[in-house]
């Protein structure tokens, strides 16, 4: 794997007249868990969409696994897309397919035809996100909000990605399940050396998982580094985000888990 699975070089984003990002430089080192934090509406989701090529930057360049996103033949691009998994903020499950078919979909597309193998793999992925076989035949509309998140995570994990992009993975999960999520990501990270980029407002999870933190504020990356370093940066946003009473308690809890 290249040293930086995701690299943004001077990326700017504009919607109409408003600039959401201004010349963002960010290189995510391989094997790190990077937490992307920032106030609501600062463009975290938009930045993830830039990374996976759902949005074209107005300026700058995005490199995935060391190459520009749209480079190479169709087969190369497809192979590149299969190396990462993305969890969308709203889940984005296929509403016409049941849970089983949702998770099996990328595997079938990959070319796994053996139904027995498929079934075992899907049930394993569901078990990894603490869902039993009894939900496998339900439709997405019949799931709770937190279950949607977990099925979407199982789908993102289906192709054993080297890079995971997670948009608020623990929003809507109970504390027990959040802890389970932390354990799962930590185990995958240890076993396979995954690179993870996660957007989160959940400081417990952040403190427990993140090896680095990127702070997005006013359209640029304010700071990027290990949590301890970030905590020392003098800035009103960081002050409010990390140093409030509730934040301190959450961070302490997370460190205990970590």
């Amino acid at each position: 794997m290249p040293a930086h699975p995701v690299e943004l070089r001077g990326v700017s984003t504009r919607f109409g007249q408003t600039w959401v990002h201004r010349r963002i430089d960010l290189a995510v080192p391989a094997g790190e868990v990077v937490a992307l934090v920032g106030g609501s509406g600062t463009g975290k989701t938009t930045l993830l969409r830039q990374m996976v090529g759902l949005l074209q930057p107005a300026e700058g360049e995005v490199r995935l696994f060391g190459e520009p996103l749209a480079s190479g033949s169709r087969a190369d691009q497809l192979a590149r897309r299969r190396r990462f998994g993305m969890l969308f903020q709203q889940g984005a499950l296929f509403s016409a397919l049941n849970v089983f078919a949702n998770v099996a979909f990328p595997l079938r597309e990959f070319g796994i035809r053996d139904e027995g193998m498929l079934r075992d793999l899907v049930l394993l992925k569901l078990a990894m996100v603490e869902l039993g076989p009894e939900v496998a035949l339900r439709m997405p509309a019949e799931l709770s909000g937190g279950m949607v998140k977990r099925v979407a995570l199982a789908r993102a994990l289906a192709l054993e990605p080297e890079l995971l992009l997670l948009d608020e993975p623990t929003a809507g999960l109970d504390p027990d399940r959040s802890a389970g999520f932390v354990r799962l990501i930590r185990a995958l990270h240890k076993a396979l050396g995954l690179t993870v980029i996660l957007v989160t407002h959940d400081l417990d999870t952040l403190a427990a998982l993140a090896t680095r933190v990127a702070v997005l504020s006013e359209g640029r990356i304010l700071a990027f580094g290990p949590l301890e370093e970030i905590m020392r940066v003098q800035d009103p946003f960081i002050e409010r985000f990390f140093h409030g009473e509730r934040s301190q308690a959450a961070l302490a809890r997370g460190r205990e888990q970590g």
Partner: protein, 357 residues
């Protein structure tokens, strides 16, 4: 026998060579000893492949590095998880399918009647509380289904008129009965073709849009949001569409029929040399005015039915994309069928009105 594995056992690496690999695995007999200490990376796909080969248990004499324990631990925990199997197809299922179809149709009828009944109740309510009429929505819908439909209806109507007139003129010329083109076009278009043609266009254009709109609001829970605000979906969503289309359809029909007549007139002028003056003077004498009334009443009824059918199917959409597309299709097909059935009823009911004897 002793099997030593090495290298990457990951989906990315194994995927392209899966068939060959499974061939190799099959070649390994039961009592083999396994040594995984050379494996550099093992993901859950590779682990699952081995696990299934081992018959879902650790083989005897397995050498497993400590860092791989986790993956196999998870597999052992999973055990023999089973999906509910789907029951196999039996010949009785065909009968059940027919029965379900019949009951399904029955439910459609009941729900449709319930929808109409609910609208009537809401109308009574709105007669008492004048201020609650959704006038803004009615006007917006009127603009969408009426005004914005005018160009396409004009184009289609004009062309149909030209074609009809051209074909009829060819026949009439044989008999030297040129002037009867006015009767043929007048009766055909004003009484029959105009209303049906416009209804088919509107069902395809506005009926589908109504079903899709209400359906998407179901998918995205917007209807639930309205309900929690105490706003009736019937008053705010269904009624404006029904009222607007019922009011707009006769006008759109008039517009469509006029355009078709205009097309016919132009064509008759070119083909038969009938002047516009003559055509316009002969039309009221050939076609009694009551035919226009019949045509416009058809417009009202068709508009009402199309909107009701569209809303009926829209409210049946379940929150997934498949159901949305199925209901939109069903909405258009049903409303066109209903329009043609009702047109036949009209033809029988008005058979002694406005026709030359």
């Amino acid at each position: 026998m002793r099997v030593c594995l090495a290298g990457d056992w990951t989906l990315r690496f194994l995927g392209p060579r899966l068939d060959a690999l499974q061939g190799h695995l099959r070649g390994v007999g039961g009592g083999a000893g396994w040594d995984l200490s050379g494996v550099s990376r093992l993901d859950s796909f590779g682990a699952m492949l081995l696990w299934r080969h081992w018959g879902r248990r650790r083989p005897e004499g397995l050498v497993l590095p400590a860092e791989l324990e986790g993956v196999f631990g998870r597999l052992a925990e999973l055990g023999e998880a089973r999906l509910e199997a789907r029951a196999p197809y039996r010949w009785l299922d065909g009968t059940a399918q027919v029965g379900r179809g019949v009951f399904g149709f029955g439910r459609h009828v009941v729900q449709f009647v319930a929808l109409v009944g609910q609208l009537c109740l809401d109308l009574v309510y709105l007669l008492r509380y004048r201020g609650h009429w959704p006038l803004l929505e009615i006007s917006a819908n009127f603009y969408k289904v009426g005004v914005q439909a005018m160009p396409v209806i004009a184009l289609v109507g004009f062309l149909i008129g030209v074609v009809l007139s051209y074909l009829s003129a060819l026949q009439l010329q044989l008999f030297g009965a040129d002037v009867f083109i006015v009767n043929i076009l007048g009766f055909g278009i004003i009484r029959e073709l105009g209303p049906v043609l416009v209804a088919v266009l509107v069902a395809g254009r506005s009926g589908s849009a109504m079903t899709a709109q209400i359906g998407v609001m179901r998918v995205t829970e917007e209807i639930d949001a309205l309900t929690t605000m105490g706003i009736s979906r019937y008053v705010r969503l269904v009624l404006p569409k029904v009222v607007a289309l019922t009011l707009a359809m006769p006008l759109v029909t008039l517009w469509g029929s006029s355009m078709a007549l205009f097309g016919g007139m132009v064509s008759a002028n070119l083909q038969l040399g009938l002047s516009f003056d003559f055509f316009l003077n002969a039309l009221p004498r050939a076609v009694p005015a009551v035919n226009l009334l019949i045509g416009l009443s058809k417009g009202v009824v068709f508009g009402l039915l199309i909107a009701l059918v569209a809303c009926h199917f829209g409210l049946r959409v379940r929150p997934n994309t498949e159901s949305l597309s199925a209901n939109t299709t069903a909405s258009v097909v049903s409303s066109i069928t209903v329009v043609i059935l009702v047109d036949a009823v009209f033809a029988i009911a008005t058979r002694s009105i406005g026709l030359p004897r």
